[in-house]
Amino acid sequence: MLWFRPLALAAAVLTLAVVVLGAWVRLNDAGLGCPDWPGCYGQVTVPQTAAELEAAQAAFPDRPPEPGKAWLEMTHRYAAGILGLLILAIAVIAWRRRDDPEQRVFLPVFLVALVIFQALLGMWTVTLLLKPILVVLHLLGGMTTLALLWWLYLSTDPKRPPRALAAPPLGMAAVAGLIMLGLQIALGGWTSANYAALACPDFPTCQAEWWPEMDFADGFVLWRGTGIDYEGGVLDNDARVAVHMTHRVGAIVTALVLFAIGGTAVWRARTRGARAAGAWLIVLVCLQWAIAVSMLARGLPVMLATAHNAIAAILVLTLVYLIYKSWRMQPTPGR
């Protein structure tokens, strides 16, 4: 099927945009820009006219409509909706060609299920008032969609028919690195969802201490019940500091792991693509750290915070690429 790969690539690119757009919405405090779902104040589009705004005001007296924020939220929803249709199209193509042994069927169908789950998480994020665990799961779901679509695109390259799966050390290390990165992204999402990014405004110390007073037990309560408005955060200082410091420690560990993987790939990988991915990994980790430190120095500007999310997504893509390049191109396991 001529269209399959271009569609997969288009979907991957669109997913990157939707993920970063989602971060942009959240960081602009526009996650509740439309307090209902799937419409916005009961309408398909953002309320604009005086009459519409009045109706919106009457329907949600606690949340007076702010058209700017509503537009942000709806743009994310429209883009995600288009992405959902694109993934559905990919799955339909795959399903109709399921008799062809070369055709990937499971992954496209799984992606449809994943994107439906993502839509539900998006809805709950809104209806359960930015509950942190849902914000984090929604972020992880987006990153997973991105990784899988990228993998679907890479692994259907007709010039490189799939070989028997072997597990070379570098490929295994890259998988471990991806898991580590996923954990660190979850911790980053948790930091954002609990409004803990400015709990430690200084660096490398936190509130002028190397190891401040922290409340890990309270900081990592995953479920606090529904009906609470989490906008602005509900944790006290010590719990937020615990969340923030965990993300920092995670950043050190992740950086070391990814540096080791990137360095090994640059040094030892057999394929050009894997070496390039290793070099990118090192550069991106450095960039990510520089952005993080600058975010703190400048009081969390939205542009930098969004860039932090975007680099995280690009790191995911780079690691998936490295896994693909180091896994498939090895003729035999080991060396």
Binding site: V266, W267, A279, C286, W289, A290, V293, S294, A297
Partner: protein, 304 residues
């Protein structure tokens, strides 16, 4: 890594010879230029004199990091260096020092640099310095250099970092004017290095490093030197146009730029064999003088 040097018996085990080899590992002349641009970055960062601690430990820290990167470069390139006329006398391929000694030395320098910058200067400077070090030693030396003829263009980013590092050591943040200094060195690196690469083309070809003259030929490289020099001269006007520097700098930038353009045009027009090395030598004087004038202008400002 440097197995050739490891297995060879060291020719002269005396302490003096060891120190001389370690000194050579640091590429003192390259480090001197790097440190100079970093110090200019520090001094330009504030209207007054920067704090003495940042000046002293920032300079030392950046110098140690640059020396560490140079030593790592020696280690990682030992095999290639042994095959090239220009580099076969370096301490590792000549067997004057072992690979292990060089690695330990490089790591000690890097650690000292990180501690000095991280604790006594500021963590952002330590972080950016670490990234530049890794960028040069791993991304450039191990990957870019052998991967693409754009190697030194992209890798130039690591070499262009020092003035930013110096600036950050004083202010604690990355500022737009610091990035201008970065841009100048970034635009300067291709014509500077390609002039050398033309002179050393056969050696690069022999060891399979895809320098631009090897992959795209002599004439193409000379054209690119000219084009990048034009770009460089335009970029060097930016400090004046953004009112970071005044008329003294502008005059110097124009005169020096005219000099570089003269070399670049001659290089394009003539095949004379001594021209590439002379262009290379001029490019070093050019950058040194340009940064010296940034400094002079900073303390003696004349504006229109």
């Amino acid at each position: 890594m440097a197995n050739a040097a490891d297995t060879r018996t060291l020719s002269d085990p005396s302490l003096g010879a060891l120190l001389a080899s370690l000194y050579a590992l640091c590429k003192p002349r390259v480090v001197a230029l790097i440190v100079f641009t970093a110090v200019v970055g520090m001094l330009l960062a504030t209207p007054d004199l920067p704090p003495l601690g940042a000046l002293l430990f920032g300079t030392l820290g950046i110098a140690f990091a640059a020396a560490s990167a140079a030593a790592l470069n020696h280690v990682l390139d030992a095999r290639v260096d042994a095959q090239m006329q220009r580099t076969r006398h370096r301490p590792l391929p000549a067997g004057r020092i072992s690979g292990t000694q060089a690695v330990v030395f490089a790591f000690a320098l890097g650690l000292a640099s990180m501690l000095m910058l991280g604790v006594l200067v500021n963590p952002l400077t330590a972080l950016l310095t670490f990234c530049s070090l890794i960028g040069y030693a791993v991304v450039y030396t191990l990957y870019l250099k052998r991967a693409t003829p754009q190697n030194i263009v992209i890798g130039g980013a690591a070499g262009a970092a020092p003035p930013v590092l110096g600036w950050t050591a004083v202010t604690g943040s990355i500022d737009a004017h610091a990035l201008l200094l970065f841009l100048i060195i970034f635009a300067w690196t291709p014509p500077h290095f390609w002039a050398l690469a033309i002179a050393r083309r056969d050696e690069y070809a022999k060891v399979g490093i895809p320098m631009l003259p090897v992959t795209h030929g002599d004439a193409f490289t000379r054209l690119h030197i000219l084009l990048y020099t034009i770009l460089l001269v335009l970029v060097t006007l930016l400090p004046y146009l953004t009112r970071m520097s005044g008329l003294i700098y502008l005059a110097a930038a124009l005169l020096l730029g005219a000099g570089f353009l003269y070399y670049a045009v001659r290089l394009k027009a003539s095949e004379r064999p001594e021209l590439p090395m002379r262009t290379f030598a001029f490019s070093i004087k050019y950058l040194t003088a340009l940064f010296a004038f940034l400094l002079i202008d900073h303390y003696l400002p004349f504006y229109l």
